[in-house]
């Protein structure tokens, strides 16, 4: 049920716990330090937008595709956002082939809600014929290497892909709507509202940000907050429990952390490698 169910040898576990009981981490980071964040965009030519986000050894790629769809009944004037997230077996010895499991579904749904409630993408620009035809905006998030904090890396990849994606032109010919993939315009996004999550884990009496996979195995509680501008647009407490004071503290620290991550993303949006590297 819980994942990744990696067994940490007991000597290693004891060493790690001893470190953490002094408020230290195995890789020398401070409790609220993120690992190196690296973002590359536009790698995937077959996608309408794409990005590879790395946080340390965690690597997640996201591809955006625009297709034709029918609007949902309650939003006749908006495109359809569909977020799918896969944890393919190449990314970790603990992943298995098959449809998304509860962890992948949870990640996908938090990515979906963070985007949806932030106002980052102007979904009304994705209507084609009111009540009849809209763009279906597919965001496919693919984990390539899992070394913890998939949540933050997944949303990073998704928003960087969206921010740099290009919408193929729709052509209306009588009753028929088609997409002209040779003519594209940038997707309308509001960069000020770009959503970003900050994920915390509790180990012993400490709460730390951006856990790696070893720390996640030791974790007794996990908590994610998504910020858009200064607002909270999504919260997801996963395992364990937190006191109201702990939650308030994660809110404030999360808000600060989200600002520096945001700066990192913005500066990376021009990082288009010439060849496909991961």
């Amino acid at each position: 049920m819980s994942y990744p169910f990696e067994v940490i040898p007991s000597l290693r576990r004891e060493a790690l716990m001893r470190l953490i009981s002094d408020g230290k981490r195995s890789d020398g980071r401070g409790l609220y330090d993120y690992r190196q964040i690296d973002i590359k965009v536009g790698l995937v030519r077959t996608a309408d937008g794409s990005a590879l986000a790395s946080i340390g050894n965690t690597k997640v790629i996201a591809g955006v595709k625009f297709e034709l769809g029918r609007p949902f009944e309650d939003t006749p004037g908006e495109g359809n956002l569909i977020v799918n997230l896969e944890t393919p077996p190449l990314a970790s010895p603990t992943f298995e082939p098959g449809p998304p499991d509860e962890n992948a579904i949870e990640l996908a749904r938090v990515v979906d809600r963070a985007i949806r409630h932030s106002g980052f993408v102007d979904m009304s620009t994705l209507a084609i014929v009111q009540g009849k035809s809209v763009y279906a905006l597919w965001v496919d998030v693919y984990v390539l290497n899992h070394d913890g904090n998939l949540m933050d890396a997944s949303l990073l990849a998704a928003v960087a892909a969206l921010a740099t994606s290009q919408v193929p032109k729709s052509v209306i010919d009588g009753d028929v709507v088609k997409l002209d993939k040779s003519t594209k315009v940038p997707l309308s996004v509001n960069m000020d509202k770009m959503p970003l999550t900050v994920t915390f884990n509790k180990i012993g009496k400490y709460i730390l940000a951006d856990a790696n996979v070893e720390e996640e195995v030791l974790s007794e509680g996990r908590f994610t907050v998504a910020f858009s501008g200064g607002d909270v647009v999504s919260i997801q407490k996963s395992s364990g429990f937190f006191t109201p004071l702990e939650v308030e503290d994660m809110m404030s620290r999360g808000l600060e952390l989200s600002k520096s991550i945001r700066a990192k993303v913005v500066e990376s949006l021009g990082n288009r490698p010439e060849s496909f590297i991961i």
């Binding site: 962890n103 749904r109 647009v233 407490k237 939650v247 808000l255």
Partner: protein, 243 residues
């Protein structure tokens, strides 16, 4: 959330069903309703009705899920096909799979799972009638059914939903408020320990509003927590209070 409400959700400080922002709907509880289950409960938050059944501790099956030094909690949240306005297909949706996970994680902190190595404790939740706040109603129902089964627990859990209508923070969303409101924040609390064991949020909230929401959740949880205890004492007798 999404789309425009067919009726205004807040008029002169009153909600569509006449409640004030901090009012919880009427709560009903009944335990021991299913003879076959180890423990069971039927809980209503207004017109939302959830049935919970607990089986176990029993030998964990299939075998490979068993853990050598602790028990495994399994939770299945499911909506009956007739519980919603449009018939719901009985196949589990992604939403139901996610909720099953977070509800499990809302209960795990209070159960002495380590007392039941190689065993599973299975909690089955069926939403029989949905009018908003089904996951928090489910948590309250599950907590009662677990207690009814006699499984040792640190304390009871209470679920409460907090929401936003415009800038107003409100307690216990009904379906209309859930569909057309501006924020939804389900919270589960272990009242006497000040633990939050479930917390999610949608919509848009300032950090201050989140703090306020937590406060409201604990305040709304108190009478429900007491009602849980009373219900368990007077087993088989129905309880209904308005918080």
């Amino acid at each position: 959330m999404g789309g425009k409400s067919p009726v205004p959700l807040l008029v002169d400080g009153k909600r569509v069903d006449g409640r004030l922002p901090e009012d919880h709907r009427s709560v009903t509880m009944r335990v021991g309703v299913l003879p076959n289950a180890s423990g069971s409960a039927l809980v209503g938050y207004g017109n939302t009705v959830v049935l919970a059944a607990v089986y176990g501790p029993r030998e964990a099956m299939p075998r490979h899920i068993a853990l050598p030094d602790t028990g495994v909690l399994r939770v299945r949240y499911h909506m009956a096909p007739f519980s919603t306005d449009e018939r719901k297909s009985p196949a589990p949706t992604r939403r139901e799979i996610e909720i099953s996970k977070v509800v499990r994680q809302a209960l795990e902190p209070v159960i002495f799972l380590e007392q039941f190595p190689k065993s599973s404790i299975d909690v089955f939740l069926e939403v029989l009638q949905a009018d908003g706040s089904t996951r928090v109603t489910s948590i309250t129902a599950a907590s009662l059914a677990l207690a009814d089964s006699g499984i040792p627990m640190r304390d009871l859990v209470v679920g409460v939903s907090i929401g936003k209508i415009g800038d107003t923070v409100v307690v216990d969303l009904n379906k209309l408020e859930d569909n057309y409101g501006d924020g939804d924040m389900p919270i589960a609390v272990v009242y006497r320990r000040s633990w939050i064991t479930l917390m999610q949020a949608d919509g848009s909230w300032t950090v201050e509003e989140v703090k306020k929401a937590i406060g409201l959740a604990f305040r709304a949880a108190e009478p429900i927590y007491k009602m849980e205890r009373d219900t368990l004492k007077g087993r088989y007798s129905e309880q209904a209070i308005v918080s």
